[in-house]
């Protein structure tokens, strides 16, 4: 229950961090809030030879909107900062992010855990990964060859695997357009546990009528997935119940100690409907 030895490096800037990562190679891990990594290191499931601590890079702790109505969240922004952000930053377009934070672990996890850390860690049930896919986010990575933007749908490869190159640092996530009719909901046996299934929707609505939308699921595949079959129901004017049924029918979730495939399909149906209703609630 004590981590294996490692060498500790404190990055002074993002350039310093990417230089260190390039220099130290594959045995180096980035540490931000450490809320997943330190637990894995204490268990010795992770034994990095080097840790590059980016915790001091205040420039990566920011939350602001741009002229086009998009929202930028720096990688070091904590879940708690999003949860307690001033209303004029998040509402009405991004209130979904604030409401989703309560599903992430517990308060003492959210005060340390970071948005970028969660996205780069890429747990299959992570709320930020699901939000990024559902809301069509773009992830900004900085490496030795400069910056690049990666669409969320191209970012998550599977369990704890992302499109980030070993020498790259995730610096920001951008939600390009407001999502006033969006919601995330999930189910776990105890509050704060990893979700067995999580569902997020981002509906397009005019005057209270749904014209279409995006439906995404976590915990049913190695990475968060969109469900085109369920989105087609919304675009075709179907009900939320029909959309939820289509999502369950289209999914092929795994079975494990937390639930059988049948149980997960039941959760998908329940949670997608619940998310749709919450997204349209006044």
């Amino acid at each position: 229950m004590k981590p294996a030895p490692f060498r500790y490096h404190r990055a002074r800037s993002t350039e310093d961090a990417t230089r260190l990562l390039a220099e130290l190679g594959a045995d180096a891990k980035v540490i931000a809030g450490g809320q997943s990594l330190v637990a894995m290191m204490n268990y010795r499931l992770a034994r990095p030879a080097h840790l590059v601590d980016i915790g001091g890079l205040r420039a990566l702790d920011h939350l602001h909107t741009d002229a086009d109505g998009g929202l930028h969240i720096g990688a070091l922004t904590t879940h708690h900062t999003v949860e307690t952000a001033p209303p004029d930053v998040l509402e009405p377009g991004f209130g979904v992010l604030r409401r989703a934070m309560r599903w992430i672990g517990h308060l003492p996890i959210r005060t340390r855990g970071t948005v970028g850390g969660s996205l780069a860690h890429a747990d299959a049930t992570a709320e930020w990964c699901l939000l990024a896919v559902a809301l069509g986010a773009e992830l900004v990575a900085e490496g030795p060859h400069g910056r690049r933007r990666i669409r969320a749908e191209d970012f998550f490869f599977g369990y704890y695997t992302t499109a980030l190159d070993p020498g790259e640092l995730l610096v920001e996530v951008v939600f390009p357009r407001p999502a006033p009719h969006a919601a995330l909901t999930e189910f776990a046996e105890r509050q704060g546990d990893f979700a067995i299934v999580a569902a997020a929707v981002d509906l397009d609505a005019e005057d209270g009528t749904v014209r279409g939308g995006r439906v995404a699921l976590g915990g049913v595949a190695p990475a968060p997935v969109r469900v085109p079959e369920a989105e087609a129901v919304l675009a075709g004017g179907g009900t939320f119940a029909e959309c939820a049924a289509a999502a369950a029918d289209a999914s092929d979730p795994p079975g494990d100690a937390n639930g059988s495939p049948e149980y997960r399909r039941h959760l998908i149906r329940t949670l997608v409907q619940r998310a749709c209703e919450e997204a349209m609630a006044p």
């Binding site: 060498r7 517990h106 003492p108």
Partner: protein, 170 residues
């Protein structure tokens, strides 16, 4: 021995308003530095993977798991442990929160208590008007196998209510 096995960090830590110089391995977590290097054994260590909350301390006024943080990461931050709560000339006078835990029987064996106290201390500072429902949600962060939580919720709620009354009287 690899290089990493001898990777020592000289750190300056601000704990309960006092500066401490500590020379420890990089892999030393904050809770282990508090307990073993600084001999502040009020902070307990339970699961060591962020589940039980026994090691909860305040870092820059916010409750955090001291087992999920390397001490080196805490340099430059203000750390508060359960030892900072009590006051008085002999340092043994219990704070209002501690007294509320006692009055409401919010502890039995006491192992989890330092974690619950620091969780509540950080939470109430941010949400002095917290509802009982919010308190219930927050204390779900920590494990207590004795009390059944009801008395802990009542202790925190009672303390918050007393502070609000005192605030109004001023």
């Amino acid at each position: 021995m690899t290089d990493a096995a001898t990777d020592l960090q000289l750190m300056t830590l601000d704990v309960n308003g006092e500066e401490h110089e500590v020379l420890a391995e990089s892999r030393r977590t904050l809770v282990d530095v508090l307990r073993h290097d600084l001999r502040l054994t009020g902070t307990h260590v339970g699961c060591e993977h962020g589940i039980c909350g026994a090691c909860t301390v305040l870092v820059d006024d916010r409750p955090v798991r001291a087992c999920l943080m390397f001490a080196a990461q805490a340099e430059g931050a203000r750390i508060r442990t359960v030892e900072s709560l009590s006051d008085g000339t002999d340092g043994c006078e219990l704070s209002d929160l501690q007294q509320a835990f006692s009055a409401h029987h919010g502890l039995q064996c006491g192992f989890c208590t330092p974690g619950f106290l620091m969780l509540a201390e950080g939470f109430l500072a941010e949400r002095p008007d917290a509802s009982k429902e919010e308190i219930r949600e927050v204390v779900a962060a920590n494990l207590c196998r004795c009390t059944g939580y009801q008395t802990i919720v009542e202790a925190i709620d009672g303390c918050a209510a007393a502070r609000r009354r005192a605030g109004k009287e001023k």
